[in-house]
Structures are given as structure tokens and as C-alpha cells.
């Protein structure tokens, strides 16, 4: 098991969880999102090849109303 931070909150994941399966488990597969891991943007094409490591800091963002 690995412990990661997602949007500021602690989450425990199975070992070798890919970004793709994380997004799936969060119900975000059909959402327009962008992802950063440890301050590095991860492009969509790499979601299935990157696995999450212990203490990774993950940010998942989207567009919201603003001026």
C-alpha cells in the first residue's frame, strides 16, 4: 500500500496504482481535468504508464466559474 496526497487530502492506494485507474476510481474518467504530480504536469497520454508512489502529491484540477 502507498499513501499519497490528492488535492491536499491523504489517500491510501494499492501498490502500482496507475494514474488511469486512480482517475477511474475517483469517478473522473469522463471529466475534463488536468493532473499534476509533485508539481510536474502529467499529460493525458501518460496516465496509463505512470504509477503512483508513496508520498506523491497529486493535484487534479478543472475549470470552474470565475471572472
Amino acid at each position: 500500500m502507498v499513501e499519497v496526497w490528492i488535492n491536499g487530502g491523504s489517500v491510501t492506494l494499492e501498490d502500482n496504482t496507475s494514474v488511469d485507474s486512480l482517475i477511474d476510481s475517483l469517478g473522473l474518467s469522463d471529466r475534463k481535468i488536468a493532473i499534476e504530480i509533485n508539481h510536474q504536469i502529467v499529460s493525458r497520454s501518460r496516465y496509463d504508464s505512470i504509477t503512483l508512489k508513496h508520498k506523491d502529491k497529486i493535484e487534479i484540477v478543472t475549470a470552474v466559474g470565475g471572472g
Binding site: G8, L26, R31, A34, S43, E59, A63, V64, G65, G66
Partner: protein
């Protein structure tokens, strides 16, 4: 130059009203207000996704037709160049490589006045990274010129504080910025009602950006239509050229001759 069109960076637009998407009752109201405003550029903010959200819950982007409007991701809430650059790099990833952005770096949480030194740093880094930067700034003509020299694509001075609805508090500074700028000048922040938008356009602004003036009106969809007309009227008046002001000499609109009682 075609008076109907104006250009920001590599994109051309017809509508000179840019609207925000914050503070609406729901996405449906946001969508109707955008439609009634006629805006072709719509701002959005970038925030952490709500992780508790159900997959079926609507999201803002479902209500915006990107074939009809250009999204303008902003950096609202950023207080440093680092945060602003990071936010817009995420926005570019989120929006499939979209490069037209609104940079704002704030300096004070009460007034939301821009931090112009951080804004300059962020603008330079974003431009080097290939972004087309529309930049929110104070109404300081020297800073506006500096942002132009850095390679921004539009200068967006405040008329008054964000969300204040106080209108154009320093028309003289705004006029200096307009007169000296080779770039589109867009009043961003402070418009309260239709006449404020008209005044900005009559002064020669290229466009007006607003959010709260529409979203916080009693009838936002109605106000969106009023703002569309206000911006159009102001632009047409600017192009038509107003009459000279005559402070001490009245001039009758009707003939002075042929009066029933000739004046001696």
C-alpha cells in the same frame, strides 16, 4: 481596419464584451447570460476538482460550447508569479493546448489590487513559454507600457476594484493608457452598470470584461443583454466621434431666424 472586428494576439473577434462565469445561481443561468451577452470570450477559473462529486453531476464546461466561444482561463486567487504560471500551465493541459490566457496576480486580499511586480515576472515567463497573455493590471500607464513591451497581447486595467461595481474611477489614467497603447486595451473589473461599459467604450477601449455586474444583477440574463447593447453603443459613439463640449456657449438646435417675434 474593420470597425466590427478586433484582434487579440492571433485571434479575431466581433463582440467586444468579455464575460466571466462566476457567481451565477447555476450553470443554466450562466449559459443563458453568456448567450444573451453575445460574448465570444468567456473567462473561467482553475480549481481543484471536488473529489466527492458524482460522475453524473454537471460541470461548467458541459454548458459552454467551445465552438461558439473562446475560453479564457484566469489566475484569480494567485498571489505570486509562481502560482499564476503553474495555474496557467495546468489550464493549457486541461484545455488541450489552449494558449490564450488571462493573467492576474493579486497583491491584497481585501482590495484584490494587482501585484504589478509579480505580474511582470509572470507575464515574462508565460510569454517565453508560448502563451498569449491578456494581463489584468492597475491603471498605471508606465506598467501598462512595460507589459506591452514584454509581449502581452492585451492590457486590461481595472476601472475600479474587482466586484465593486464602482465604475471608472480614474478616466484620466485610463485615457493615457489607451492613447499610448499599441495593444487592445480592455477595461477589466469595476463595471457596475450599462453606462459604465458605454463610457469605457466611448473613451476608446477596445473591449470590456465583466462578471459581477451581470451575475449580481437582479436579472442577470436581462443585464447581459443590456451590457451587449451598452458596449455596442459605446463603440459606435467612439467611431462616430462625439461633438465638442462647449461649457459656456449654448447653441440652439432650431433656426435663429423666422421667429414670430424677431429678437433685436
Amino acid at each position: 481596419m474593420n470597425s466590427k472586428n478586433f484582434t487579440i494576439g492571433t485571434r479575431s473577434f466581433t463582440s467586444r464584451l468579455i464575460v466571466g462565469t462566476g457567481k451565477y445561481k447555476n450553470f443554466s443561468e450562466t449559459q443563458s447570460a453568456i448567450k444573451n451577452s453575445g460574448a465570444e470570450i468567456v473567462t473561467v477559473a482553475i480549481r481543484r476538482t471536488n473529489l466527492g462529486q458524482k460522475p453524473s453531476e454537471p460541470s461548467l464546461l458541459d454548458y459552454i460550447d467551445r465552438d461558439l466561444v473562446t475560453l479564457l482561463p484566469n489566475t484569480a486567487g494567485c498571489y505570486s508569479a509562481d502560482e499564476a504560471v503553474r495555474t496557467l500551465q495546468l489550464a493549457r493541459e486541461l484545455l488541450d493546448g489552449h494558449d490564450l490566457v488571462k493573467l492576474e496576480v493579486l497583491g491584497d486580499p481585501t482590495t484584490l489590487f494587482p501585484n504589478v511586480t509579480e505580474t511582470l515576472i509572470a507575464a515574462e515567463r508565460l510569454i517565453q513559454d508560448g502563451f498569449q497573455v491578456m494581463v489584468y493590471t492597475s491603471d498605471d500607464p508606465v506598467i501598462a507600457k512595460r507589459l506591452e513591451e514584454l509581449g502581452c497581447v492585451a492590457i486590461m486595467p481595472l476601472a475600479s476594484l474587482i466586484g465593486s461595481g464602482m465604475g471608472i474611477l480614474n478616466p484620466w489614467n485610463l485615457k493615457i493608457i489607451i492613447d499610448n497603447s499599441m495593444l487592445p486595451v480592455i477595461v477589466d473589473a469595476g463595471v457596475g452598470t450599462a453606462s459604465d461599459a458605454t463610457i469605457a467604450m466611448e473613451m476608446g477601449c477596445d473591449a470590456v470584461l465583466m462578471n459581477t455586474a451581470i451575475a449580481a444583477a437582479k436579472d442577470p440574463i436581462g443585464m447581459a443583454g443590456a451590457m451587449r447593447k451598452a458596449v455596442e453603443a459605446g463603440r459606435e459613439a467612439f467611431l462616430a466621434g462625439r461633438m465638442a463640449k462647449k461649457a459656456y456657449q449654448a447653441s440652439p438646435s432650431s433656426p435663429k431666424t423666422g421667429l414670430l417675434t424677431p429678437q433685436g
